[in-house]
Amino acid sequence: MNKIKNLSDLRKIKDDLQNKIKLRENSNSPESVVQIKVGMATSGIASGAKEVMSFLIDELDRRKIDAVVTQVGDMGYCYAEPTIEVKKPGQDPLVFGYVNTEKAKEIIEKYIINGELVEGILPANYQSID
């Protein structure tokens, strides 16, 4: 390791390193970033939820979008697996069904970035209590 020579050096190194612990920072204040829950019960996994989750993590990372992607249990939409719930800061969560990687990309581009609604929103059949 070369010595850090001045303050701007230090700031640059900090920016480079920040990604390493970003996940931890975001989990400290999940309400301020996009939260995505991927239903990963048996039916979800069988329908490819794992690939969708990996895709979401990589894609959001690549686009430098602050988000927390968590796996959760069965959300109750077994007919529409894989399902994901997306909660943007300050908004009500939306649940999307039949999400493959293509659909996931669309959700990121249209809903998360531009705020447009996309096909495939499932009617909410539950309320979350915090």
């Binding site: 010595k3 850090i4 020579k5 303050l7 230090l10 920040q18 390493k20 989990s27």
Partner: protein, 599 residues
């Protein structure tokens, strides 16, 4: 995903390092080592339920994890996304498992400033510290090149010494900066000696770089190029992590010559203490570092005038220093907005004793004891009744029910007859005898008194003898008056803080638990049933079936058969000869008919 595993001393003692290795092996076996990061962190504070494993990003908080549980966590949680319920924290009141740390009462009321990185970063990795804004405060301070302005920020923030006294830190720096000499020193006091207090250790183990950064900032402000950490040799893990951190900081050019191109030189050395309580007193600490006997000397001269090697020195406690970088980064206004009028910021307490959630907590000044004990601490163990809480360790006092709603800060605690001290907080329930507790603290101060001044050396010994006499059942009302009088004399005449505060436990318990002292002296009874000499094991002849098991269990053969046969029983009941009984309790433990009780 990140797996954070506690690597503090407490959890390490319960095999947390093995858990780290096991996780790494399990993840490798499942080809997940690239997706899941395993991080050994500092203390989470929830030591009651260690070892702790926290899963990020969902903040799942697993407690009392064993190496054998790792396979299940990987298989169930990481692969299938199902939390392992049996390892989740069980709320003592609701009797329900709590899924993540955000919903645990233990964390809800806490604000973690000094402990911000404990349980969050890997303390042996400087990069994680830098990623958390580490060394940015030092960078700013050096770039601005205005020590007076920096001291002013610390002064305005209202930060006061966290080691016990509560002296304003900014003022301390200002005094040291105004004394001119060819060499000055900044000293970190890591001689944590209060029984039960371990916040300084946890900070050094969990976030050593924050101390290094703060010392460099302090050094720059007062004009010292040399920093010394006085740390107990009993803290091997803290010493190791601090040394690793110092080496890394040197490697990155954050210690050494010309730091960040500012022309400022600063380096840190460690000095080990042998674990004497009095060496936490700054003059004694300095003598010990110089290789002299660890004895205090009269102030003035203050260390800021004539300290280590007769040079101006500034001594700060670990927790005080841990606050410095955040104050610089976030501004004094932010810090001063937390807390009460005269006590700003937060305080770390080591919560111990008869509460459900024992551990290390950081709360804003001004929080009430009730919130700390009943919300964060989860209430008294086994549903027993709260009796008292001891704050400030051997120098502090006992507070009772009537103080529960007092906001905690330096001045309120002193007004209530106790003190902040370094932040020990021992909660006692109805089974604690206040006279015995006081005797315990005096045991400690008698042992730790350096012996230099007579009030402390002889006076505390006499206090201890009087307390012993009372617990033996030989006390008189004159003894109680004597306790009070002697305490005041010691307070007024002892040389250093140790002696001046050692009678505090006596005075506060006499004030708050006078009836209990009187019960010991006049009725010869210990209401809490703790003083052996004052209790009697008694057999209820109506319940005793005369089986004779107690007589066999008795190691000194004091139990004999009487000639009374209770109605409905076939054998005569047993009886204890009180003059020979050694109160070991073996008879009571062995009786299957609950016929033996303590009176």
């Amino acid at each position: 995903m990140h797996l954070l595993i506690c690597g503090g001393t407490g959890c390490t003692a319960s095999q947390s390092l093995e858990i780290v290795d096991k996780f790494k092996a399990e993840l490798k076996a499942n080809n997940l080592e690239d997706e899941v990061q395993v991080v050994k962190t500092g203390c989470f504070g929830f030591c009651e339920k260690g070892p702790i494993v926290k899963v990020i990003p969902d903040n799942t908080f697993y407690t009392e994890v064993t190496p054998a549980d790792t396979a299940e966590i990987v298989k169930e949680h990481i692969i299938k996304g199902r939390k392992v319920n049996r390892l989740l924290y069980l709320d003592p009141k609701e009797k329900e498992h709590v899924s993540d740390s955000k919903h645990m009462n233990f964390y809800k009321k806490q604000i973690r400033i000094a402990l911000r990185n404990c349980g969050f970063i890997n303390p042996e990795n400087i990069e994680e510290y830098i990623a958390r804004d580490g060394y940015a405060a030092l960078g700013d301070v050096l770039a601005n090149n205005n020590p007076t302005a920096t001291i002013d920020i610390i002064k305005k923030s209202g930060l006061r010494g966290r080691g016990g006294g509560g002296f304003p830190t900014g003022m301390k720096w200002e005094i040291a900066s105004k004394n001119h000499a060819d060499q000055k020193y900044i000293i970190c006091n890591a001689d944590e000696g209060d029984p039960g207090a371990f916040m300084d250790r946890s900070i050094l183990e969990g976030d050593p770089h924050s101390i290094i950064e703060a010392m460099a900032i302090g050094g720059f402000c007062i004009g010292a190029t040399k920093g010394l950490v006085y740390i107990r040799a009993e803290y091997p893990l803290a010493i190791h992590r601090l040394q690793v951190a110092i080496d890394q900081a040197r490697e990155y050019g954050l210690l050494g010559k010309d730091i960040l191109g500012s022309g400022f030189d600063f380096d840190i050395d460690l000095r080990y203490g042998a674990g004497a309580f009095v060496c936490g007193e700054e003059t004694a600490l300095i003598h010990s570092m110089e290789g002299q006997r660890g004895e205090p000397t009269f102030k003035p001269p203050f260390p800021a005038q004539e300290g280590y090697m007769k040079k101006p020195s500034n001594v700060n406690n670990v927790e005080t220093l841990a606050n410095i970088p955040v104050i610089i980064n976030k501004g004094w206004e932010w810090f001063a907005s937390i807390g009460t009028e005269k006590s700003k910021g937060t305080k770390v307490f080591a919560l111990a004793g008869q509460v459900n959630n024992v551990g290390l907590i950081e709360v804003p000044m001004g929080i009430t004891l009730r919130e700390v004990i009943f919300e964060i601490g989860g209430g008294i163990k086994d549903g027993r009744k709260f009796k008292a809480v001891q704050t400030g360790g051997p120098s502090g006092g006992c507070l009772t029910e009537k103080h529960l709603d007092t906001p905690i800060d330096y001045d309120n605690l002193i007004a209530a007859g106790s003190m902040m001290g370094s932040g020990g907080m021992v909660v006692m329930d109805e089974t604690s005898c206040m006279v015995s507790i006081t005797k315990f603290y005096l045991d400690f101060t008698v042992e730790e008194s350096c012996g230099k001044c007579t009030p402390c050396r002889v006076g505390n010994k006499r206090l201890h003898e009087l307390l012993d006499k009372i617990t033996q059942g030989n006390g008189t009302m004159e003894d109680l008056e004597m306790l009070r009088e002697l305490s005041h004399v010691i307070k007024d005449t002892a040389l250093c803080g140790l002696g001046q505060t050692s009678p505090n436990p006596v005075l506060s318990t006499i004030d708050n638990f006078w009836d209990e002292y009187v019960a010991h002296v006049v009725d010869k009874k210990c209401p809490a049933g703790q003083c052996k000499k004052l209790m009697q094991y008694v057999i209820d002849p109506e319940l005793c079936i005369g089986c004779g098991k107690c007589a066999k269990d008795c190691p000194v053969s004091t139990i004999k058969r009487t000639d009374y046969i209770a109605p409905g029983h076939k054998l005569a009941s047993m009886e204890i000869d009180q003059s020979k009984c050694i109160k070991c309790g073996a008879c009571q433990a062995g009786c299957k008919f609950n016929a033996i009780s303590v009176k």
